[in-house]
C-alpha cells in the first residue's frame, strides 16, 4: 500500500494540488473498512525560490526543521490517517531560512514500547541538534544513535536540504 500511495501522491502533485488536497485524494484511495488498514502520510510543498513550506499530515509524526533559527518541529496539527474518509486536514506553513534541513520520518525511528511519543520525538530532535554536514551522514547517524537495537518496526526517513537559489538571492540583493 505504501508504494501505491507514494505514486498516487506524486501524480496528484504534478496536477498542482496542495498538500491538504493531496491527502484528501489519497483518503479516497484507501478504505479502512475494505482494506483493513490505514496509512499515515505527511505531505509538504516547498517553494524553491522563497523557502515557503506548506505541510499537512494525516496522522503522521511531525516534520523536523533545522535552520539558523534552530532545530524544531514544524507543529503540524495532524488529521486522522488516510483510509477513514474524513475531511482534509489543515495546512501549516512556515518560511525557511537558507540553508535549511528538513527531516520527515516514520514512527519506527522513535517508537518504544510503553514510552510517550513525545519522549521519542524529543530524542530525534536532540540527535539532530548535534549533527551537521552531508545528509547521508545525518541519516546514517540517526539510524545508528536513535533506532534502538533489535528494532522490529521498519524505519523510513526523508532528509532534504534547501538553499536559496542564486536567482532568488540576486533579486533580494
Amino acid at each position: 500500500m505504501m508504494a501505491s500511495l507514494r505514486f498516487a501522491a506524486r501524480a496528484f502533485a504534478t496536477e498542482g494540488k496542495g498538500p491538504a488536497q493531496i491527502l484528501a485524494r489519497l483518503d479516497q484511495l484507501v478504505d479502512l473498512e475494505r482494506d483493513g488498514q490505514f496509512a499515515t502520510v505527511v505531505c509538504a510543498r516547498l517553494m524553491l525560490e522563497t523557502g515557503r513550506l506548506t505541510m499537512a499530515s494525516a496522522g503522521h509524526p511531525d516534520v523536523l526543521i533545522a535552520d539558523s533559527r534552530g532545530v524544531r518541529f514544524a507543529g503540524i496539527r495532524p488529521g486522522p490517517p488516510v483510509g477513514l474518509q474524513r475531511r482534509a486536514p489543515k495546512e501549516t506553513s512556515v518560511t525557511l531560512r537558507s540553508p535549511a534541513t528538513l527531516l520527515a520520518f516514520t514512527d519506527g525511528l522513535f517508537e518504544r514500547r510503553g514510552e510517550s511519543p513525545d519522549v521519542g520525538m524529543a530524542r530525534v530532535r536532540d540527535a539532530v541538534d548535534g549533527l551537521d554536514g552531508p545528509l547521508g551522514g545525518l541519516v546514517d547517524a540517526l539510524t545508528n544513535t536513535v533506532v534502538p537495537p533489535h528494532q522490529r518496526d521498519d524505519v523510513a526517513m526523508v532528509a532534504l536540504r534547501w538553499t536559496a537559489s542564486t536567482r532568488a538571492r540576486a533579486r533580494s540583493a
Binding site: L32, E33, G36, Q37, F38, T40, S57, A58, G59, P61, P78, G79, P80, P81, G83, L84, Q85, R86, P89, R113, G114, E115, S116, P117, D118
Partner: protein, 88 residues
Amino acid sequence: MRAVVPLVGEVDVLNIGTVRDAVETAIGDGAAEVVFDLAAASFIDSSSLALFAQTSLRVGKVVVRDPPEVIRRVIEATGLINVLVVEP
C-alpha cells in the same frame, strides 16, 4: 445499545483476535456504541488503533475509556482523536 470491550495487559498483533471477536459479537448484537476499556491495558500497538478506527466506521460512536497517558498521546499524535472519543 452500548457494549464495553476490555483490553487487558499487552495487546498487540498476536493477541488482538480476542478483542476483534468481542467487537464482532457486540456489533452482531446491535451495539450502536462500543467502549474500549483500557483501564487494565499496559500496551497496545497499531493493530488496536486500527481496530478502534475500523469500529468507528461501523458504529455510531467509539469511546476509548481510561487509556494510560502514553496511549492517550498516541491517539492524539496519530490524529485518531478526530474519530474517537477519549474519556475522561
